[in-house]
């Protein structure tokens, strides 16, 4: 009986979390209209770049304690034309071992929060929500050609306690 209630709770939680991403992105799109308002609301972006069409793109999210990323695209007048929350489960599922390369990963997930080399192979790491918004570390391992070799998701726990951080 207890497990049934737990299953219902997990389903409800998952449903609410799945709807949270787009709603939040729409809210930030509606409220943060000018480039100055985006700075006032969100702080300093992690990186500023220009896409292939010449539009200015701001990304938030290389902070290792931030579980989602934000991406704002501005027009020539400095007004937000598009914003989205990145590093969602749907984004992580787009990365395929053996097919995606570092450029794909950078485009989908944004810049890594951590970058390290283990036994000669490059690893990029982010903090993400996975499986109904449970905090996880996402570690992507690349081979020597820069193609994804392995995608690891590790639950963030306090060592020895098994309690989610």
């Amino acid at each position: 009986m207890r497990s049934a209630w737990r299953a219902i709770a997990v389903v409800l939680l998952a449903g609410s979390c799945l709807s949270a991403g787009p709603v939040q992105a729409e809210a930030s799109k509606a409220e943060a209209q000018s480039v100055a308002e985006v700075v006032r609301r969100q702080g300093q972006p992690s990186v500023v770049w220009f896409d292939a069409t010449g539009r200015e793109v701001w990304e938030y999210g290389s902070n290792p304690f931030r579980f989602t990323g934000l991406r704002f695209v501005f027009d020539d007048q400095g007004r937000v034309v598009y914003s989205e929350e990145t590093r969602q489960e749907r984004d992580i599922r787009r990365i395929i071992a053996g097919q995606s390369d570092r450029q794909d990963v950078r485009e989908i997930l944004g810049e890594p929060a951590r970058l390290f080399v283990i036994r000669g192979e490059m690893h990029w790491e982010w903090a993400v929500f996975w499986l109904a918004r449970i905090p996880h570390r996402l570690v992507i391992q690349f081979d020597e050609r820069g193609v994804v070799k392995d995608i690891g998701k590790y639950r963030l726990t306090v060592r020895g306690s098994g309690v989610a951080n």
Partner: protein, 150 residues
């Protein structure tokens, strides 16, 4: 006696030359690939990609100590080029009422700080040669003001 003196001087010169060669090799080794750059410089402040899968890493947070650098890597992670950014020439290349914000990013990298200024913003760049470059933008993202603060 003079013979031994010249041998000693020759040996010293050879040793010095070997040390120079070793130092040069060490410097090359440091810049050889992505792993070495990561080990030397840490997490890059910006990662971008150019055509052909060229990966570009920018370092500009430690500008006061080591300068600001841009490394380009091939898909296998080998260093293709290393260039110093935010030099005096880069700053001079930014012309008020002409330079677009995308050209600024190409020259100086991502700004260190963005400050709201009315409805617009000002970009701040820490310069390796000292001071902070502050750029304001007019409509169309063209540089409207350029100031170097001490």
């Amino acid at each position: 006696m003079r013979f031994f003196g010249s041998v000693r001087a020759g040996t010293g010169a050879c040793l010095a030359w070997c040390l120079v060669c070793l130092a040069a090799q060490a410097a090359d080794a440091v810049l050889a690939d992505m792993k070495a750059v990561r080990a030397e410089w840490g997490l890059p402040q910006a990662i971008r990609f150019r055509d052909g899968g060229v990966e570009v890493w920018e370092y500009h947070r430690k500008v006061t100590r080591n300068g600001a650098w841009r490394y380009a890597f091939d898909p296998a992670g080998k260093v293709l080029s290393v260039e110093r950014i935010r030099t005096a020439e880069d700053v001079a290349a930014i012309v008020v009422s002409e330079t677009h914000a995308s050209e600024v990013v190409a020259l100086l990298g991502s700004p260190d700080r963005i400050v709201p200024d009315g409805e617009g913003v000002r970009w701040q760049f820490q310069l390796p040669q000292g001071g902070t470059l502050v750029l304001g933008f007019a409509a169309g993202k063209i540089v409207s003001t350029k100031t170097v603060m001490p």
